[in-house]
Symmetry: C2
Subunit: 427 residues, 2 copies
């Protein structure tokens, strides 16, 4: 990362887009996240940048000459920085481009927001150590945290075909489920449907197959970060996951928020990275002075649950958990890139890393119902008196995230929203 | 599958392409497999069909008006069948199209053959029960075959970005390796580099997210079959794979043969599918009369190892294993499609299923060195006196496959060839 002063991060900067100057917006002029949108009737996605409650169409504004987000994400760091600077200068108060850019603005409320790019490969990591501990306790009581956890940034491959844009719904999955007492499994609707509070890390610059990415070059390959809900069917997962890992318990749907917040926008919210006392240091290929000094990201997150009854009552939902990326994660984003490529694995523009569930150390910081309700044993009671062990049909889950600190403008991630539909029935 | 007589399978059919009429060709007129090729200097791939030692350029022959294999693969069964009929009629002796098609023929030796399509998601299954038993014995001596194996077609997600066309080489991977006696892992070159003899099943018609594919519709979603070598780093895999499955031990490279042999061409080589006596029957969603009657494919395969010294000596290599899909597999292709979608998971045209390692019951039928040498303990001795526990730098592995039976023309899969390079060094 650069440590030079970046004028696009000046907290005093104001935009001529009035909604970008409020205290509550996720998208002040210091943020400038990238996403894809289209208007009703459009076939193709366009590239946009969120500013206040508006989206700037980058092609209409004359800033790019194509609509291919994955191509934009591959740009070299200097080129990315030049685009960010142009955006910041064009959107700030008193800009000479105001009239031209104003014609390229649309209200976010009037467009559909899609997945932020085409995702080639999606990898799900497992960096939340509190989550790994608690899941381990429930799935393998004799052996909760395996000996490789402190050494290997554990991850597995996920599936891209079922990634969904925020605002989508999905059917409760069917699957093989074997109750503990039963002698054989049966095909049944998932009865332990869960959320996973994650962040999505998007790759920009690719590496060539065969060529590992050293730790101090790793962040050059990261384009931006979104919210990510990796819906999970715990009963299907429990029966299928040995010996080759999660499969149908995970790949029915995952929801991605629309806006990729760039590493440039996150620069004021970096934190030192350190291991808990007594834990081994990472192997040398996963260690560097820069990674120790500011490898972590101080991103605050929350999970909101809105049941069907709450929606009918016009109530926005209860916050059921709050957590923080820097506090929950045992590995940094840079370490994930370096580990993923140490064997020569190729990363491509648009590839997605899920962070893994980012639970904190306390009950109020649990990023899954599995943890929050101890596997459904102790259901939570919501503000309207309803109870939940796991998700019910009609439930909507909204993830939110933001960064805030003294001396910097607060930036947000928008929202990641998904709704559970009943089991699919033909016809 | 159709049971009506298909005139394109008539074993008496001869082609005006003389090389398609020899006894030894993989590509008689009864085969007509699809692949992608380009000539030196071309940027884009073109769609071709192999016939003898030639490739027919489908666009140049006027059979299609695009070069997008994934689009072709999505065609409805009737449309696919019409294209196959047109190809068969145009390439057979006495065809009125001979002159026109002859202008669209190129020698396979003069073109580059690529991956047969763009692969979106790649799933690796584990249908080889003898392989699962032996790997289980080595990785989990106390618990070789887990109780879910007889019920769940076990699979996990792989990575698409490192799939390679036949003829490619890859660097020996580095990775975290922990010797059994060591107190901690180290970063080191893989010392237990292995092959996996698999078949690649390619999806044609997609299913909508949320909508399971019933077992008797499953084969409509399969376009064709290739050979597939899923190179594996056993030492990296052993340390990383718990609890979420194989990751860097697998995703550095996998090699795919160029020609997708269609299900139409394989119709004469279907076999009944049955469970070993005493094993439970599949759950109803994975069972049907059609699947029992002819769910299996009688595909013969072999693994050839050519060391660097053999190559220098102009020797083509030793056959180190022979196996058969129908005998090795515990699940059918149709069961894999149905299981993969039972939770609503979406399959897209071009998605790839690896079958898993297809070892038979005997040593001579082992599809991996892990099995063939019992984890390197009993190295094999090659015909020139060299020994191998696992692969060495400079080794080339060639997979071959074919179908043959009385009353049908023998068809082949071409070859799947890959070479091990030394560990990558910068500069």
């Amino acid at each position: 990362m650069t440590t030079a002063f970046d004028p696009t991060l000046d907290p005093q900067l104001q935009s001529w887009v009035a909604s970008a100057n409020t205290d509550t917006t996720d998208f002040p002029i210091q943020n400038l996240p990238f996403g894809r949108f289209r208007q009703p009737g459009d076939a193709a996605w366009r590239i946009g940048v969120a500013v206040g409650d508006q989206v700037l169409d980058l092609r209409a504004a004359g800033l790019i000459d194509h609509g291919d987000m994955n191509r934009l994400m591959q740009a070299a760091p200097a080129e990315r920085r030049a685009l960010r600077t142009a955006l910041s200068e064009g959107l700030r108060e008193g800009s000479a481009q105001q009239a031209a850019y104003a014609r390229a603005l649309l209200a976010q409320a009037d467009v559909a927001l899609g997945l932020p790019c085409e995702v080639g490969d999606y990898t799900d990591f497992y960096v939340g150590i509190h989550h790994a501990m608690e899941v381990g306790r429930q799935f393998r009581p004799e052996n909760p945290l395996l000996p490789n956890y402190a050494w290997v940034p554990i991850g597995y491959h996920g599936r891209s075909s079922t990634l969904q844009a925020s605002g989508s719904a999905f059917h409760r999955p069917m699957g093989q489920i074997k109750p503990a007492q039963a002698s054989q499994p049966e095909l049944a609707p998932c009865a332990r449907l869960d959320i996973e509070l994650e962040l999505g890390l998007f790759i920009g610059q690719p590496n060539a197959q065969g060529e590992p990415v050293p730790i101090d070059e790793a962040e050059q390959h990261l384009f931006g970060i979104t919210l990510f809900n990796d819906w999970s069917a715990r009963d299907i997962q429990a029966w299928e996951y040995q010996p080759l890992g999660p499969f149908l318990g995970k790949n029915f749907a995952s929801t991605v928020s629309p806006w990729m917040v760039t590493l440039e926008a996150l620069a004021p919210f970096r934190r030192p990275f350190a291991r808990p006392v007594g834990d081994p240091e990472p192997l040398p290929y996963l260690d560097s002075a820069d990674n120790r000094a500011h490898g972590a990201f101080d991103i605050q997150m929350e999970v909101v649950l809105q049941t069907a009854r709450m929606a009918q009552d016009g109530y926005a939902g209860d916050v059921i958990a709050e957590s923080n990326f820097a506090e929950a994660a045992y590995w940094t984003a840079a370490q994930l890139v370096t580990h993923h490529t140490v064997n020569g694995c190729a990363l491509r523009a648009g590839d997605l890393f899920g962070s893994g569930t980012l639970s904190g150390a306390t009950k109020a910081q649990c990023g899954s119902l599995l943890e929050l309700t101890t596997g459904g044993k102790y259901p939570i009671t919501l503000s309207n008196g309803e109870q939940r062990g796991f998700l019910e049909d009609g439930d909507t889950v909204i993830l939110r995230g933001w960064c805030a600190r003294e001396g910097a403008r607060r930036i947000g991630f928008g929202e990641c929203r998904g709704t559970v539909l009943p089991v699919f029935t033909k016809g």
